[in-house]
């Protein structure tokens, strides 16, 4: 029975195929237009360096989107975490400390940062589950407060000067694969297992389809919501670790443009914004499409803003195609949408 439910929830094969096809088309197209430039190890390495920050934030957005929610505080959470990590590090170790001397403080800083980001997520979840605030408003509120506190604490200044060890997280490779990319893949894999192989994940998908029915089937909906937003916050924290390491600094406002892009990435990856359908693997493919477009256009000499515009276009095209296929958003089982619930 559970297997059948799981199967029906996870059936989005046609979407994965479309995305895979899109990736192949992009590979061929850019390979032809940019001979010897696009299909190179160097280009793929640089793409793998760029993807993880946005990727982890997009997963943070995706997990709550599966329940029909949204998390507007992801960037604020990530920056708050970055500021905690940066503050602790700059106060405990000097910039040129040895690896042995900096490993302890680094662990402490990272744990504290992750704790703060998970805590912000849990607060979001409590607001949504127990106070009954709609996700968009709850996270808008925490976004404003967290950003405000971050500005207050740092006075808007950049914090920098970290030991070498932190910088290796975002800037080194193992066997040619960037460490940050490995972190991203491992996180995506763990979240996939959590969502597709555990009762918790099943509850998440069920809540996205019908929260009331899920509650009446004996699932503690509130607990799942709180934990899920906590997970979302934690993922922001992991993203922030990579961001701090890559930028070699922390500040309020880093990555602000990622906020709305993560929503687009989720929709491109086949997640239903009303909840209940979509897979992390689709999101990863969608992120691949976005990253390849961005790198390819960059190599062609186009500005980053044109890429942004084209991202908007490609989302609209995909939505048009899904509409033309007559499946609404293009998911196997489309729950009836009611006006009242559509945006909550």
């Amino acid at each position: 029975m559970l297997k059948a439910v799981r199967k029906s929830i996870l059936q989005s094969g046609s979407d994965l195929k479309t995305l895979a096809l899109l990736i192949v088309i992009l590979l061929i197209a850019f390979g032809v237009i940019l001979p010897g430039k696009f299909l190179t190890t160097r280009n793929f390495q640089s793409m793998a360096f760029q993807l993880p920050e946005l990727g982890l934030l997009a997963i943070a957005m995706a997990v709550v989107m599966l329940t029909g929610g949204i998390n507007l505080s992801i960037i604020a959470t990530a920056n708050a975490c970055g500021i905690v990590i940066a503050t602790i590090l700059t106060h405990t170790v000097s910039r040129d400390a040895s690896i042995a001397a900096s490993i302890g403080p680094l662990l402490l800083a990272v744990l504290a940062g992750f704790a703060v980001s998970a805590l912000i997520g849990l607060i979001n979840g409590l607001f949504i589950a127990y106070v009954g605030v709609s996700p968009i408003l709850a996270t808008l509120g925490t976004m404003t407060i967290v950003e405000g506190i971050s500005v207050l604490v740092t006075r808007g200044r950049v914090i920098s000067g970290f030991p070498e060890l932190l910088l290796t997280i975002g800037n080194s490779s193992v066997l040619g694969i960037p460490v940050s990319f490995l972190i991203f893949i491992i996180a995506a894999w763990l979240v996939t297992i959590l969502l597709e192989r555990t009762p918790f994940g099943l509850a998440v998908y069920m809540m996205g389809s019908n929260e009331t029915a899920t509650e009446f089937s004996g699932i503690n909906v509130r607990r799942v919501t709180v934990l899920l937003y906590g997970l979302s916050g934690l993922l922001c924290g992991i993203s922030s670790l990579i961001m701090v390491s890559r930028f070699n600094s922390a500040r309020v406002g880093y990555g602000a443009s990622y906020l709305l892009i993560t929503v687009l990435a989720c929709v491109l990856g086949g997640l239903n914004p009303d909840g209940g359908f979509g897979r992390i693997v689709g999101l990863v493919l969608g992120l691949g499409v976005l990253q390849m477009m961005s790198s390819g256009l960059n190599l062609l000499g186009f500005s980053a803003h044109l890429t942004e515009a084209l991202w908007g276009v490609i989302i609209l095209v995909i939505l048009f195609l899904r509409r033309a296929r007559g499946k609404g958003l293009g998911f196997g089982l489309q729950p009836p949408r009611r006006g009242k619930e559509a945006m909550q």
């Binding site: 968009i136 709850a138 407060i145 950003e147 405000g148 006075r155 709305l260 939505l319 048009f320 006006g339």
Partner: protein
């Protein structure tokens, strides 16, 4: 004022939230006038009005969008596109104030209507479509203009405030932003309460399915709602350009959520079907007074956003909590019967 009073009395559901807001504003106003000497002066209040007219005008459009059950994220990009086109035209070809508003307004309406059509046609939540169009409009604008700022507006565009009121720099003439703000609010209130289209928007936001079965043309309504949002964005963008005398492509984009927050603070629900102009005006006033008050009290500007966030969280928290308790009580009563 009589219009709004009648509305308050007629709608007991809205009564509480707006009365509550008004009381907070009166309390805050009383405190600020006692604690500072500058707050309760005509000059200060008019300054605040002018500074927040941009947010206020946009909030009227956002109110209608939220009532209709949607949301618009792209209006900042629409405003920027309209503003840029308007500035380029009047600097290069001259023109007059009416033409400036016309250019920005028409661009706003066209781009807004496209949003409305896409949202209805694609059957996708409005937030997704408008995030996509935000990226599209803004990306294309920056690519074409390379993000250049525009300066050097013609003389007539610089000295607009003196066209209204009794003139002279010392007098407190009602300036153009304030007049437009009041006009937009009055029109929106009239439109929402006294026209069929306005009532249909409430109906659609309350229950789209039911409204459709009553014969409401949903597509037409959505195109109108987002077109109106585009129109007010265009108007507000001209006001903003006039106030700062520069056009910076990144000046407006990024403030989407501020406007949403102001309207939600004023009692509109993201679920659609509820919200009033009075509430929105009060929400904007509260934000404006808070910003002004903190500055006058000499509190570091680093605190502003913390206060704003706290107000949003408390406001939406209290509203949702009381609504939830309300529905629970009703459920128990139904069960008891």
């Amino acid at each position: 004022m009589r219009e709004s009073m009648r509305q308050l009395i007629k709608n007991p559901i809205f009564k509480r939230k707006e009365t509550f807001l008004a009381l907070i504003i009166i309390a805050l106003g009383t405190y600020l006038s006692l604690a500072t000497t500058d707050f309760l002066t005509v000059a200060n209040l008019l300054d605040v009005l002018v500074n927040y007219s941009f947010l206020g005008i946009m909030s009227a459009g956002m109110l209608i969008v939220l009532i209709s059950g949607g949301i618009d994220i792209s209006f900042t990009a629409i405003a920027t596109v309209g503003q840029y086109a308007m500035a380029l035209y009047i600097i290069n070809y001259g023109g007059n104030l009416f033409l400036a508003f016309l250019i920005a307004g028409v661009i706003g309406v066209v781009l807004g209507c496209i949003n409305g059509f896409l949202i209805d046609y694609l059957k996708v939540p409005a937030i997704i479509v408008t995030i996509a169009t935000l990226n599209l409009h803004y990306g294309v604008l920056i690519t074409i203009t390379k993000g250049r700022w525009i300066y050097g507006f013609p003389e007539w565009f610089r000295n607009i405030p003196s066209l209204f009121g009794s003139g002279g720099s010392g007098s407190y003439a009602l300036s153009l932003p304030v007049i437009l703000l009041v006009a937009v609010y009055l029109f929106t209130a009239f439109f929402l309460n006294r026209t069929t289209l306005g009532r249909q928007i409430y109906a659609m936001g309350g229950n789209q399915e039911a409204a459709q079965r009553l014969g409401v043309n949903i597509r037409k309504l959505k195109i109108f709602v987002y077109g109106f949002m585009g129109l007010v964005s265009g108007i507000a963008s001209v006001i903003q350009a006039q106030l700062v005398q520069t056009v910076a492509p990144n000046a407006i984009v990024g403030r989407e959520l501020d406007v949403v927050a102001a309207v939600v603070l004023g009692g509109a629900s993201l679920a659609g079907g509820t919200g009033t102009v009075v509430g929105t005006a009060l929400g904007v006033s509260l934000i404006a007074m808070m910003g002004n008050g903190l500055t006058l009290l000499g509190i570091s500007s680093y605190w502003h956003q913390v206060f704003l966030g706290a107000v949003i969280v408390i406001s939406v928290g209290v509203t949702s909590y009381s609504r939830r308790r309300g529905t629970q009580v009703r459920r128990i009563q139904v069960d008891g019967e």
